[in-house]
Subunit: 221 residues, 4 copies
DNA sequence: AATGAATGAGCATTCATTCAT
DNA sequence: GATGAATGAATGCTCATTCAT
């Protein structure tokens, strides 16, 4: 899940930010870093590999970055920024019932997974390698995303559309575990599109919350 | 999820395996490695840290291991060996209906999580840092564990106890994502025991599969 | 016996081979390695010493090499490549009689010893520390060099210019033992040039083979 | 060329000298060390390998030695002690002519090579790894051995049995290079005994010195 | 005599980072 | 913008050596 171009400039970084000069180059680099981090993990990834993937020598990469961590931050923060976008786009559905809103969220989330597959895992895995300040930036976004789902869950419990016995905290975590896990095993090469996958996952999640089968909608086609 | 003591000797490793001489020492070391790998990730973990945690100098650790990878393998393989145990212990329930069997599996799994918390993530994260041979050993166990759940799911679809519209492959992955995600956010320090957590997760999963609420059992207390 | 500059680029090595970019630097490094290996032996030689001798820090040396063994190979293989050159330069003498050819070979060999003294011993001593593939490359060259001398010996026995009772295998080994031993005790600081030494050794060897004193030429001046 | 038992106790070492307790054990250990040093070179040889070859653990070897260097010294000094014996045994031939004396020396030397093959190379190769004191002890023996041959050569030149044009220093080195080189290529598995080899080498050397073919004796059978 | 365990200094190698050109 | 060269700190691993038992 690469960062959407408009969210991709180094944020909270100050300095010359060379990315502003050639945004497309910066995006290439971040994508390359995403691939390499995904394959080897942040610590084992080599700057040289990332540079080679965009046709540079390792020394040259430092024209674009100040440190390896910049790339991790760009990816992890970008991932979360996209998550924020997913969450905020829900405005149109604000008046809908909780199952509909949660289902729509799941579909939007997986839809974006499809656009930039592969980097969700990095966010989970290597978040702690960031500096405390940057971790805080990311954790704040994460909390807002989390809160969005949890609010829906609590609303649903309150209005009876979800089972009263569920624990909002646990269930919210379960939902994100399901969503974040996807990119580790799903490959669109399968005879299944992201849209179809989203349907399955939406059902799994809503059922898991005890939603009325009627509300969830018809069985998958 | 550290390895249960009786399953912990280096398996499939050949060589002098000094761990067999002093199993407690070997267990201490593997536990220490698990902690450090969990905190920093495999690549960033330093042998020196692991050694210090058991009161040794880094060089001394090599009396017990041949390489850092040995420790990763001990943890990852041990984790999976415990998973195999969880899967195989289901013999008594073989004649039960699929929801009961799956629910019991979830409870056993989380029960073991409680015994040795923390290392499940390592297995998911750093599996690829193992040698191909060792990866194969682990992947084989993983496939068997996976197959156990998938078989239950398919049985349940066939006999109508799970929704006919679900995809066994997707759903099995969803289940493991939920189970493996737990150790990343659940801390027993919370006002919730592993048993109570297991109840919640059991319900979430079974409902997600479309099981009859009657079968799932009473709402959580 | 260091490698002649023109033969010195890493041969049969694949990879980026930065030495090709700055041959003089590569030669400096190989010479430094030759000195250090000669003084301490391959195993006891420290990369740090070699680096320091060319004004680098040990880490920097890895810009030029992939491993310490690369340096050993460059020296040992270079030595043998020079030997091949010595052997092949004999074309002009092909029609001469065996004693003349062998005498000329001895003179050429020692002449080259004089150009790059000191590393012949390394080739003999630490050949076995090379990887099997590289050993094979070197052993092949060695066999060709050996064969060149043996052929002359056999020709000489056949045409009566060498004693009929000698064993070509033994005598060829004796000749190379004499030639290879030189660099361990001869220092041109002595009141003797390499040319004079070569004359003595040529006589010793030809006499050893039972050549007609007339053929060998006049006593040394 | 292992050390003859009676010459094998650690010499010039002072201390408890445990070898005196079980001479045969000490010999076993020195032989094992000789094998390992010969295979890998002194620096690359591991105490553990030597210990394993005599059925001990590496720590246990220190009951017999004070340091790895003790073993090198035992071998190198032992080798030279044998050389001294070879040289001194010549008493009976003292009145013989130089070619006879030198020929007899070659035969004795190779005869002893046959008794303990393989370690001559170590002496040449790793002499410099000894402490200065021990190097001095060995170099003194070496000088005496060298001097023995050189004296014969000079006598031979003086009385006309060797060519007047040869340089005693060079030729003596040639002779030892031939003798010391043997163990690197000769294996008694060949269809040739040490006695036969000695004959060939004797002829090569004496001819090399310009001795009268009549003096050298009949061609090899 | 022998061992198991530990030590600690040393070494090859890696790699993020810098910088003059 | 990009590069080649160099840096230096870090880190996995080795191994001679010690010593209580």
């Amino acid at each position: 899940m690469a960062v959407a171009p408009e969210a991709r400039r180094p944020i909270g970084q100050g300095g010359r930010s060379p990315g502003s000069l050639r945004p497309e180059r910066w995006n290439e680099i971040v994508d390359a870093a995403g691939d390499v981090f995904d394959e080897k993990g942040y610590a084992a990834a080599r700057i040289e590999d990332i540079a080679a993937r965009v046709g540079l020598l390792k020394g040259s990469l430092y024209y674009y970055i100040d440190s390896k961590e910049d790339l991790l931050f760009a990816i992890v923060d970008g991932n979360h920024s996209r998550g924020i976008v997913v969450v905020e786009e829900g405005a149109a559905l604000e008046s809908a019932d909780p199952p509909t809103r949660l289902g729509a969220f799941v579909e939007r989330w997986i839809g974006i997974l499809g656009a930039n597959p592969g980097y969700a895992a990095i966010a989970e895995r290597d978040l702690r390698r960031l500096s405390p300040e940057r971790q805080a930036i990311v954790m704040d976004k994460r909390a807002r995303i989390h809160r969005f789902v949890r609010d829906i869950v609590e609303d649903g419990i309150a209005d009876g559309s979800f089972d009263a016995g569920i624990d909002p905290g646990i269930v919210t975590n379960n939902v994100f575990d399901v969503l974040n896990g996807i990119s580790q095993w799903f490959h669109p090469a399968r005879p299944l599109t992201y849209e179809q996958l989203a349907e399955h996952v939406r059902c799994f999640v809503l059922r898991g919350l005890g939603a009325d089968p009627e509300t969830i909608g018809p069985a998958l086609p």
